[in-house]
């Protein structure tokens, strides 16, 4: 399944070829490192799920992920122990995580999620630890935990942008902490300043430095041209060995008869592209599609022609070279299909208020709608057009609109390339600016271009912009059944990891339903208990010291964990991108910790009401044992989900999973 992505990216690191992914690089670098250390040579193609690994050494990478995944259990155990000071609560949490089939499955394969969750839980654990060191500030252990928090935050951010939520959690916690210190009048302002500085240093500067360093390593390691080039600007590409722009020498000024590629200046804008396919019926005129395409391709080549003269005299080698000047009226002919770039007053396929752009004409003869005025930003009339460096605008002569890329992805008929339109709104945006990237003209002398070298800060900024664009570009396609955030906590539907048919070895990512539903119920229960505790305290009811301690645990400890759950779950409702079931797992960790704390407190409350008789302890122990046994038994039932199933589907009574398909939406 997704091993094909991340395994492949691990290979890219080993081969040092440049690629593009929507996630920050740390997770894939670690996978690559693990593979490198365990002797994997980066040659396995990772083409489609289900391919056999054959002799390739993949165990290192899997083992690494599985190791990080198993670290989650002790982390959660220690966190809960620290928050609730109760061994049973911590044990319960640990049992839940050990016996959850979803967590097991997710950490068994080469995926980013175990790495992300490792750093995430690490950050939470160290945050809780340094909070409990608050009584001896500036001691060695306080410093260690504080800086460890910072390191883990950087790690979480570096694996996936979801790490941002845990940064938020730690940030809120720190603000609360500082506010507390500020109210403590026994501390002088100088001491408070020290506290503030220490936190700024460890929680802001340190993670930032690490994060930047991570990208520095990323760009140093990947110095060869690879499949991700097209996503980046021309300047960026000139840094990559093997790219056609690396140490390139091309003619400096644009001339008629040149073969060029045009790149949109929008971050992650594509090349102007066309292909034999026509726009489908009902979408403007049925002429040839013109799109923006992110990859390098022969169909990106265009020939620059004069608007009024023929092809013939330009191909004649003896004729003098004529340069294109600012304000000239030109015609762009697509090299492969010999059609002209054309626009007319039909509405564009997606952006209805813009005009459609098509390829029109046969062998270069079209009509007056093929004429474009070329203008260089910030230049006067008559100046020449520079390749790569000039920012160019193409104005359609007949309608006065400007050629631009709207950034929206076309449906299947357009091969999911990006829409190109002619916008009648004359706003100055990078969407409507282009530069010439490749430039082939045998009649002109080549010059070398080293001027473009971008600084590291620019590279960092650009790669982030590209990643954010890429992330928001992962839109669900029409009619595709996608996973909705509300499916997740109820364990509505899993993810098929491998194997579809009866004879395959099938692994299905699905949480242990007993545990997940227990978590769900606990959330409601927690809210009830917390609300009643808060009201009781607010009403000023006198409590024993034991109960006071319990209510502190439930409100403060539980509150922190609940906040973590909220932060890792609710933002998904607002995301427009494609969502998957496994996005819920960080939130699930918090939910499990909450379960541990809540049940322990609940049982203790029950025991407290029964005290001081001996039944109190019995009730407490029995309740705890029942929960643990329930979890273990359910794991016994569902363990084939993660360790693989062979044989008939669960709908068949002879299957080992028969009778366990409690919801119709589960597919095993």
């Amino acid at each position: 399944w997704d091993e094909t992505h991340f395994g492949k990216m691990g290979s890219y690191y080993i081969n040092r070829t440049f690629f593009f992914d929507v996630h920050p690089p740390l997770g894939k670098m670690l996978i690559g490192l693990a593979g490198y250390l365990s002797g994997y040579d980066g040659t396995f193609p990772f083409q489609k799920p289900g391919d056999r690994y054959e002799q390739h050494n993949y165990m290192g990478m899997r083992g690494f992920c599985a190791f990080l995944g198993s670290c989650l259990v002790p982390f959660a155990y220690l966190t809960v122990l620290e928050l609730s000071k109760s061994l049973p609560a911590a044990l319960l949490t640990a049992f839940i995580l050990i016996f959850d089939t979803g967590c097991i499955t997710l950490s068994q394969y080469i995926l980013l999620d175990p790495i992300l969750m490792f750093f995430l839980m690490g950050a939470v654990l160290s945050m809780v630890k340094y909070n409990s060191c608050a009584d001896r500030p500036f001691s060695a252990s306080w410093w260690i935990w504080l800086s460890l928090t910072g390191v883990n935050l950087a790690g979480a951010m570096g694996v996936k942008f979801v790490g941002l939520f845990v940064v938020l959690l730690v940030g809120l916690n720190t603000i609360y902490d500082l506010w507390d210190l500020l109210g403590n009048l026994s501390l002088s302002l100088v001491v408070f300043g020290k506290h503030l500085l220490a936190r700024v240093l460890c929680l802001i500067l340190l993670p930032l430095a690490l994060y930047t360093a991570m990208f520095a390593v990323h760009f140093t390691v990947l110095n060869k041209s690879g499949p991700g080039d097209g996503f980046f600007s021309s300047a960026f590409q000139s840094q990559l060995i093997g790219n056609n722009l690396h140490n390139v020498s091309i003619p400096e000024y644009l001339a008629y008869g040149s073969v060029v590629t045009m790149k949109n200046l929008r971050m992650a804008g594509g090349y102007l592209h066309s292909h034999w396919h026509l726009y489908p019926e009902g979408i403007g005129a049925r002429q040839q599609q013109v799109t923006a395409y992110l990859h390098k391709d022969l169909n990106n080549l265009w020939i620059i022609k004069k608007h009024d003269s023929d092809t013939a005299d330009l191909s004649d080698p003896s004729s003098p070279v004529e340069f294109v000047r600012h304000g000239d009226i030109i015609r762009l002919e697509h090299k492969e299909t010999s059609r002209n770039l054309h626009s007319h007053q039909h509405e564009a396929p997606l952006t209805r208020k813009h005009f459609q752009v098509t390829g029109y004409g046969i062998n270069g003869t079209g009509d007056s709608n093929d004429f474009w005025r070329i203008e260089v930003v910030g230049r006067k009339a008559g100046k020449l057009v520079k390749v790569l460096r000039s920012q160019v605008r193409l104005t359609h002569v007949a309608t006065g609109c400007i050629l631009g890329s709207s950034g929206k992805t076309l449906p299947k008929w357009g091969w999911e390339q990006v829409e190109v339109t002619c916008t009648p709104y004359l706003k100055e945006t990078p969407n409507s600016l282009w530069n010439f990237e490749d430039h082939i003209n045998p009649k002109l002398p080549n010059i070398s271009l080293d001027v473009l070298k971008p600084s590291f800060a620019e590279i960092l900024l650009e790669s982030h912009m590209v990643m954010i664009r890429g992330n928001s570009g992962l839109k669900p396609k029409d009619n595709e059944v996608t996973s909705k955030p509300w499916h997740w906590p109820i364990n509505y539907q899993g993810l098929r990891f491998s194997g579809v048919n009866e004879t395959d070895y099938r692994v299905y990512l699905l949480g242990n339903p007993v545990i997940w539903w227990l978590n769900l119920v606990t959330l409601g229960l927690y809210l009830l208990i917390a609300a009643s505790t808060a009201v009781t305290l607010k009403r000023g009811v006198q409590l024993t010291s034991e109960l006071k301690e319990l209510s502190r645990v439930i409100l403060h400890g539980g509150g922190q964990v609940l906040l973590g759950w909220l932060l890792h779950y609710f933002p998904f409702f607002m995301m427009g991108r494609v969502l998957y079931f496994h996005h819920y797992f960080p939130a699930m960790l918090f939910s499990s910790m909450l379960t541990g704390i809540t049940w322990d407190t609940l049982l203790k409350f029950c025991a407290a009401f029964l005290s001081p008789s001996t039944t109190a302890r019995k009730v407490y122990r029995a309740g705890f044992l029942a929960l643990v046994l329930l979890i273990i038994y359910s794991f016994y039932l569902f363990h084939p989900l993660s360790y693989g199933m062979i044989g008939p589907m669960a709908s068949d009574p002879s299957s080992p999973m028969a009778g366990l398909r409690w919801m119709d939406s589960w597919e095993f």
Binding site: L182, G183, G282, K353, K412, S665
Partner: protein
């Protein structure tokens, strides 16, 4: 008994001249020359068509919001005797004489005018001085953008009116609460809060933000009550229930009632019918109801039916077949079964008719008594005109190779047996033995041999090439994950087949259906369907010449041209009072900074201002700044097309913040007498500048007098403003 006679009957009337004067000024400023221009101004072109539809009682769906706002506008039209006959097709079109422009524009203008005294009252209730309250009202009065927006058939002024009313009545309620709980006025203001909230939500969904703010405030105040140990548990419970009733239950009921009135008013079928389900369409007069009226309810073996795909997007379509076959080889070289095509066809056609057949019997007529088809029954579907069986098999579908091809079976004797058994699954069944009902039942057809599900792939780009006449593709979906509307069908037209012979049956299929029984949906079913459609219907993400981003609004970097006189330079723009907007921003910034300063100082136990002043500062400022934040910040998360007028509710709250900050400054920061008088002088100067700007921009606010080119150029204070200058 007659004791009351012993005392004289006295009526004392207390008239706050301030309020009266403000109301009069508000009315003058909003109602002045209301019917000018007699032409369609900006979004009137949009709301106007709905008013016309209300007048004609024709059903429509508007995805922009709930119906109360449209109904209020239509009320104006009703009172003015509008007959709905006007073609709302372009901005700037002259109104014909039958359009009562004045009364149509009256309600929004009244609402806008009443905002002025409301602002005054709110600040008074927040315990600010009358001077500050007067200032707030004047700021609202001289705000050009609010004036422009309330003078036309637009909803923002109505929304702002209800929002302010809700805030005011909550504050009144809260102040009454201090001395007399559960008194008459206590109940009145509490109920009014709920009612105003639901009206605000009913006008535009933006009202939800303020509703949430008030709920949060009510929650906070109640939380403080919990801490008060003088209140018994029982009375606490009563308080809680009263608030729940007035602030949650009643608003919900009112919201429902808006839809009830809406649906009661609009009973004729109209242009948006096809978005709704067949059941809904059948409940409207005309349209589908005319056809389906009197159809038999229960589908039986032998029934002749048309099957509509429930998705209905982008076009509604019916299961269809015709004599043409799939090409032997597609363009990309894949092969097909070469059997008869099955498609989904967006038009009514005789080829949309299918006959439900019992696999065990040969006959194609309904027996007497009819044997109804139930959930789980296995049926065959016979195409009426060609009498071929609906079939699917393990052949890749023409456009989506991952799914199975669906065809009408032709026996070519090439070891491709017929696989034409389908299991009927009724999705909205109440029990497992439910009968398949016309229109009402949502049905899934599961293929018995392969368990594929019949599915229409009805989005743009899924239409078949020339050989399939560009009809939509129908496939058997093997991996039917969960529920998706494209896999659900319902019977639309239905009759019991009577003719045994193929020739007779063709005649029968061509004849229109008629029979007995009519059915009606309950109000709740209609409401939930309409509500769901309003929330999920996505109009195309359009770009507009005057659309702007939320960030442009604070600094007013954008404007909207509402109307331009066809010959002269007279024009109307949505353009705010620059001084007010700037001072509102400064006030908000100042409030935040000062609050942080006070907060941190208080944390260190340094009290700069008396406790009462601090409470006032927090409560008044918190409300105004909170109102601004909840009405503004959510727009950063929205993906729809945004316009400057979306900012007006937030702006209103922000304007209310100015006097709060000013009063605080003059009372607590200007300590010497000299400073105080200087401050007052400054305020006076500032107010005159606001009035000056209001006067300067009033030609583009009211649309008259017409300005010359140089005057217009002089008005263009910001380069990003789009003032229309006619070329000579």
């Amino acid at each position: 008994m007659l004791g009351f006679l012993k005392k004289p009957v006295v009526v004392t009337a207390e008239i706050n001249v301030n309020v009266v004067a403000l109301t009069v000024m508000g009315l003058i400023s909003r109602l002045w020359g209301l019917s000018y221009p007699r032409a369609v101004v900006f979004d009137e072109v949009y709301y106007g068509q709905f008013i016309s539809l209300y007048m004609k009682r024709i059903f429509f769906v508007d995805d922009s919001g709930p119906p109360l706002g449209h109904m209020l506008l239509a009320l104006g039209g009703y009172l003015g005797g509008f007959d709905g006959n006007f073609l709302w097709n372009r901005i700037g079109a002259e109104y014909s004489t039958n359009v009562p422009v004045w009364s149509l524009r009256l309600l929004p203008a009244l609402a806008g005018a009443l905002c002025v005294p409301l602002a005054y009252q709110i600040l008074v209730e927040l315990q600010l001085s009358h001077c500050a309250a007067l200032g707030a009202a004047l700021l609202i009065l001289f705000e050009n953008s609010l004036i422009t927006q309330s003078r036309f058939m637009l909803l923002e002024s109505v929304l702002i009116f209800f929002i302010l009313l809700a805030v005011l009545s909550y504050l009144k309620f809260y102040n009454v609460q201090r001395h007399s709980s559960f008194s008459g006025s206590w109940w009145f203001w509490l109920l009014l809060t709920g009612a105003a909230c639901s009206c605000a939500v009913g006008v535009k969904y933006m009202g939800l933000f303020t509703y949430m703010l008030l709920l949060a405030m009510a929650g906070l105040h109640f939380w403080h009550m919990i801490g008060d140990q003088n209140i018994s548990n029982v009375s606490l419970m009563c308080h809680f229930l009263a608030r729940g009733l007035a602030l949650v239950i009643i608003p919900m009921a009112m919201y429902l009632s808006f839809f009830y009135v809406h649906l009661a008013l609009l009973y004729r079928s109209g242009p948006h019918d096809q978005i709704m389900t067949s059941a809904f369409q059948a409940s409207l007069e005309g349209g589908l109801a005319r056809i389906t009226q009197g159809q038999p309810l229960e589908v039986a073996y032998g029934s002749q039916i048309t099957l509509r795909n429930v998705l209905g997007k982008p076009v509604q379509c019916w299961l269809h077949s015709h004599t043409n076959t799939y090409p032997i080889r597609y363009e990309n070289g894949r092969g097909s079964s070469h059997q008869q095509q099955v498609t989904c066809y967006p038009f009514k056609d005789v080829n949309n008719w299918w006959i439900v057949k019992d696999p065990g019997m040969q006959q194609l007529v309904v027996s007497n008594p009819p044997r109804p088809v139930r959930h789980g029954h296995i049926v065959q579907l016979v195409h009426g005109i060609t009498t071929r069986y609906l079939n699917t098999h393990d052949v890749a579908a023409p456009l989506s190779p991952h799914s199975q091809e669906v065809s009408c079976y032709i026996d070519y004797n090439i070891s491709m047996p017929a696989q034409n058994l389908w299991r009927v699954e009724i999705l909205n069944r109440e029990s497992d033995t439910d009968v398949w009902k016309t229109i009402l039942s949502e049905v899934r057809f599961v293929h018995v041999n392969t368990s594929a599900v019949l599915k229409a792939r009805g989005f743009i780009g899924a239409s078949l090439p020339e050989w399939g006449y560009r009809q939509l593709e129908v496939v058997g979906e093997k991996l039917a994950k969960g529920y998706h509307q494209s896999m659900v069908w319902n019977v639309e037209e239905h009759r019991y087949g009577k003719s045994q012979e193929q020739k007779e049956r063709e005649v029968e299929l061509h004849s229109p259906t008629q029979m007995d029984i009519s059915k009606n949906l309950s109000f709740m079913a209609k409401f939930s369907e309409l509500q769901w459609k309003i929330l999920t219907l996505k109009t195309e993400d359009t770009e507009h010449k005057y659309s702007s981003s939320a960030l442009d609004w604070i600094t007013m970097d954008t404007n909207i041209a509402y109307w331009l006189h066809p010959t002269s330079g007279a024009q109307i723009h949505l353009l705010g009072n620059v001084v007010t907007w700037t001072s509102a921003n400064v006030a908000a910034l100042g409030y935040v900074c000062l609050s942080l300063w006070y907060l941190i100082r208080r944390r260190r136990k340094i009290y700069d201002i008396p406790e009462g002043a601090w409470q006032l500062w927090v409560s008044a400022g918190g409300l105004c700044l909170g109102g601004w934040a909840v009405n503004y910040l959510p727009f950063f998360l929205m993906e729809k097309t945004l316009f400057l007028y979306h900012y007006l509710p937030a702006l209103t709250f922000q304007i209310l913040l100015i006097p709060v900050v000013l009063q605080h400054l003059s009372e607590h920061l200007c300590r010497s007498l000299l400073l105080k008088s200087m401050f007052s002088a400054l305020i006076v100067a500032w107010f005159s500048s606001i009035y000056f700007v209001y006067r300067t921009f009033s030609p583009v606010t009211y649309g008259e007098p017409s300005l010359s080119v140089t005057e217009l150029k002089a008005l263009r204070w910001k380069d990003s403003w789009n003032i229309l200058i006619r070329k000579q």
